[in-house]
């Protein structure tokens, strides 16, 4: 009886030890959910070019900002806005002030079979709100997701924010908001253009890019975090190379203004 238990214990202790041992220089990268499809492609291109790998975690920028503040072991943070990066830099959590890597765009996504017509200025959404065609409208949580904030601004600009309140479903991050919409659970949603045009989503509905004038620009900044190793630095540099820029461009991101590329 006891041998059995002792053997179990030894085995488990060995397992626990093995699990806490850390791997070689494969940095953890925290990335905003709007990069869900673009960044894995860039990471694959990086691996082909350098033979090095990175581990990607996706979530809302606000959530990552808090986790990094609490000491989460990330070496590079790609935020969907500049504010969260600036706060971390001020708190001394980063190496340098970071750099703008892309400008994000918002899209109105309408799933297949939805009774709503996608138009850039949300006019049919307004009509659908009046005549009851719109039951649920998905955005990311504006409290901690930059695209959620941009969605709120666009809805305010369209004069719909008050009226659409009871219809809103909030995704914990933009991927979840996109999931709500693509599944047809919501009749429409405001999601990143970079997700809307990804094949997995584009096949499930139609979308139109919302004019940049309807929300404050989504200036997406990235920054190396304190203690970043050489692979994280190499990936940070790679993200500003033409190969990465081409992938960002394909996913609808605009290139950063030239001046901000200086670190």
């Amino acid at each position: 009886m006891f041998h059995r238990i002792r053997r179990l214990l030894v085995l488990a202790a060995a397992f626990a030890l093995a699990a806490t041992a850390r791997a070689a220089d494969v940095p953890n990268v925290a990335a905003a959910s709007d990069l869900q499809f673009a960044l894995p492609e860039i990471a694959a291109a990086f691996a082909r070019a350098t033979g090095r790998e990175v581990r990607l975690s996706f979530g809302s920028s606000g959530n990552f900002r808090r986790q990094i503040g609490d000491g989460a072991p990330f070496e590079l943070f790609l935020s969907a806005d500049a504010g969260y990066v600036d706060v971390l830099a001020r708190d001394g959590r980063t190496e340098g002030d970071g750099v703008v890597y892309a400008i994000g765009r918002l899209a109105l996504f309408v799933p297949n079979g939805s009774p709503i017509e996608p138009d850039a200025t949300l006019q049919d959404v307004a009509r659908a709100l009046q005549d009851g065609r719109l039951v649920k409208f998905a955005i990311a949580n504006p409290e901690h997701a930059p695209y959620g904030r941009a969605a709120r601004e666009a809805l305010m600009r369209a004069g719909l924010w008050q009226a659409i309140g009871p219809k809103l479903v909030l995704g914990e991050n933009v991927s979840q908001a996109a999931q709500f919409t693509a599944s047809g659970a919501a009749q429409a949603g405001l999601v990143p253009d970079s997700l809307a045009r990804a094949p997995a989503l584009a096949a499930r509905g139609r979308f139109v890019v919302v004019p940049a004038s309807m929300h404050a620009p989504l200036v997406q900044k990235m920054v190396l975090l304190r203690g970043a190793g050489s692979t994280a630095r190499a990936f940070y540099d790679f993200l500003r190379q033409p190969a990465a820029a081409a992938i960002f461009d394909r996913y609808g991101f605009e290139a950063p203004p030239a001046a901000s590329a200086v670190r």
């Binding site: 009886m1 179990l8 488990a12 626990a16 609490d70 989460a72 072991p73 996109a178 990804a198 997995a200």
Partner: protein, 220 residues
């Protein structure tokens, strides 16, 4: 299919069950046979994770493990990385939220041992240690086994606490339950479906084992 997440989950589940085995036996035996002030309170506290929303537990653990708490800072000074968002932190959280699953079946099993068995064995000249290993433990074994199986299965499935204190880091804190959520968000429904089926199978097997041991020799 995220093999890394499955391996991580299995490691976490085995380590949790292994840590809770000796602890659970000591606590369950004490609760079963000793009467002391505060016993009811201790029982209630141990059962708390059964009813507490995982986010509540996650919130307190995150506060306790983070860099703003003495525990979090102490661990960081000792080991060089924070307890939150690490496998060690996940293991600590896992041990806490599995307390009732480990202790309760064992406690029931020890309670079921007739009160006069131990004095009788002592009369025969057996040492307390031998009474424990040769009489109590074999009698309570089905309960102990179902504790281990329940703890194992529950660890595989826990989501809320893991997401809050773990932070979804591949190879470190991304368990299979979190990986399913992650794959759904990435529109990778094939992988999510396969992993969900794997978890369903493992859970079913665990429950079957727990039930068959509960109805097995213990009742005989």
């Amino acid at each position: 299919m995220d093999w890394q997440a499955l391996t991580l989950s299995l490691k976490l589940a085995v380590a949790t069950a292994a840590l809770l085995l000796p602890f659970g036996i000591v606590v369950a035996r004490t609760l079963a046979w000793r009467r002391f002030p505060g016993r009811r309170m201790l029982e209630a506290a141990l059962a708390l994770p059964l009813v507490l929303p995982p986010t509540v537990l996650g919130y307190y653990l995150l506060s306790a493990f983070g860099m703003r708490s003495p525990l979090g800072r102490g661990f960081d000074a000792l080991v060089g990385h924070p307890l939150a968002f690490s496998f060690a932190g996940l293991l600590a959280a896992s041990v806490i939220f599995n307390l009732p699953f480990a202790v309760q079946p064992m406690q029931r099993a020890f309670e079921a041992i007739p009160a006069d068995v131990r004095p009788a064995a002592a009369c025969c000249g057996m040492s307390p240690w031998r009474i424990f290993s040769d009489i109590e433990l074999p009698l309570a074994w089905p309960g102990v086994l179902s504790s281990l199986v329940l703890t194992f299965a529950h660890t595989l499935g826990e989501f809320g606490v893991v997401l809050m204190v773990g932070g979804n880091i591949p190879g470190e804190t991304r368990t299979i339950a979190v990986a399913i959520y992650d794959r759904v968000q990435a529109f990778d429904t094939d992988a999510a479906g396969v992993m969900a089926a794997v978890l369903l199978g493992l859970s079913l097997a665990a429950i079957a084992i727990a039930y068959s041991t509960a109805r097995g020799p213990a009742r005989g």
